[in-house]
């Protein structure tokens, strides 16, 4: 974990300064990968050096002078570079915007960001997403080729395009985090790495763009979820649902810190989907016990969220809040209206099952749970649904 953290902290910085230095994204990225691979070989044996960035830079520079023999232009720039490395202003923001450029497919944005900004190896990315290493390598190669051939720039977008481009970046971070949220039991360790990567990226963004409320909201959302991590699973990887979680295992310091982030975002007076989602989680964390949950507040927040970014899944969550504010019959009616949109979504059926059970209609509830089970591939969710079916 410590090794991953140090690599994450320094690899992106190195990538950013090398791209600036030699002016070629692809060549710089190759050098960083070499340096990271070397670090992963040496550091576990020799220990993490006192000056990790200097170590990585030295390897990258040496490798670069050697490997870039073919390309005198890059090599000369590298040879002339200040030595020892000077602290440079943080260029990682430019790096993130290049990796998440909308002209790249989403899968490539994700792979490239993990590799270039977080310093993950191709093998680590492949393990995190359960896809073959060759697929990851291919995505990255194609993306790098497109960056240089299509002229995707290495800079922070101009003010008038920044909003849209930032949405792109935040989507990538959010996707990473979502991928980490519901791991299969065998994937728990990998997922925690990925969640740490997502938090790292969100923290980096918030540090570099401290006055963008949605960036703060995204960071708060990720931190609040991670604060509950320890309470979300049994030791053998079974899901523990929110009502049954041991709230003393939530990380109170992180929760307090996230609440501060939400308040700061709110003071900038530009509400957005990430801020609202974070606020919803925050309301849950404020309740000392499940029965103390302020459902009225949650219902209001979901209503706002659905108005800002309408989606059937948000309406489903809103219906759950409605169950506690207006009763299961009202909630079931609201869920029923989503049949068309969510018939293929396991949580629609699982939510219906819970409401039907509340209303004393066990046979229909049983049938809905069965449908939900058919529709999910996640073993932890499958096992939860199986339990419910056998109780009924």
């Amino acid at each position: 974990m410590e090794l991953a953290r140090v690599v994450r902290e320094h690899a992106g910085r190195l990538a950013a300064s090398l791209v600036s230095l030699i002016g070629d994204f692809s060549a710089a990225e190759d050098l960083v990968q070499d340096a990271v691979e070397a670090a992963l070989q040496h550091w576990p044996i020799e220990g993490i050096p006192a000056n990790p960035d200097g170590w990585l830079y030295t390897v990258a520079r040496r490798r670069g002078l050697d490997a870039l023999r073919r390309n005198a232009r890059f090599r000369d720039k590298l040879a002339l570079a200040a030595w020892p490395p000077q602290p440079v202003p943080d260029d990682r923001l430019r790096l993130i915007f290049t990796c998440c450029h909308p002209a790249l497919p989403r899968t490539a944005q994700v792979a490239l960001t993990l590799r270039v900004v977080c310093g993950l190896t191709t093998a680590q990315i492949a393990r995190a997403f359960l896809i073959p290493e060759t697929t990851v390598a291919q995505r990255i190669t194609r993306a790098k080729r497109k960056i240089s051939d299509a002229g995707i720039p290495y800079r922070i977008p101009a003010a008038d395009e920044l909003g849209a481009r930032l949405v792109e970046v935040m989507t990538v971070v959010y996707l990473l985090f979502n991928e980490a949220y519901l791991p299969t039991s065998s994937q728990r360790a990998q997922a925690q790495h990925l969640a740490a990567d997502a938090e790292f990226l969100a923290t980096l963004l918030a540090g570099l763009m401290p006055n963008v409320p949605e960036v703060l909201g995204l960071l708060a959302l990720i931190r609040l979820h991670r604060a509950r991590e320890a309470a979300r699973f049994t030791p053998d990887g079974q899901i523990i649902q929110l009502p049954d979680q041991d709230r003393s295992r939530w990380d109170r310091d992180v929760i307090v810190d996230a609440a501060w982030l939400i308040a700061r975002a709110a003071s900038l007076k530009k509400p957005g989907p990430y801020q609202l989602q974070a606020a919803i989680v925050a309301v849950h964390t404020e309740a000392g016990r499940w029965v103390d949950t302020d459902w009225q507040q949650i219902l209001i927040l979901y209503t706002m969220l659905d108005r800002l970014a309408p989606s059937p899944v948000t309406k489903l969550h809103r219906a759950v809040a409605l169950r506690y504010v207006a009763g299961p019959d009202v909630a079931l009616a609201a869920v029923g209206e989503l049949r068309q949109a969510l018939n293929g979504y396991h949580l629609w059926h699982a939510t219906r099952a819970e409401l039907l059970r509340d209303l004393g209609r066990p046979d229909e509830a049983h049938e809905a749970d069965r449908r939900a089970l058919e529709l999910t591939a996640n073993p932890a969710e499958q096992s939860l649904l199986r339990q419910r079916i056998s109780w009924a």
Binding site: D149, A150, G151, I152, P153, R155, P157, A158, E161
Partner: protein, 113 residues
Amino acid sequence: MKYVLMFAETEQFAADLAAMDETERERAYGRVRQWFTDNADKITSHTHLMPAHTATTVRLDQAEPVITDGPFVEGKEVISGFAEIDVADLDEALRIVASWPACPLVEIRPIAG
């Protein structure tokens, strides 16, 4: 960097244009002329093509050349023109394309070499 912008029409776009009256159509053309004027310093050349029904395609991967009527892509989208632009990078190309006032599809392709 130099890019070619390839403009493509859809059936819907052609139908909408056909349904316009004289003044509306003149206004639509006026917007296109204005766009070319606004970006004149970045556009090195541009060409508008005759409609797809005038296209002839020759296939040369058979024993003999095969000549067929129509554009080579069978579909609802057909290339209607192209422009060459000279700009700093893809973002600048995207910025220009974002304000294109006519047909609904534009492909941006860097020029080789």
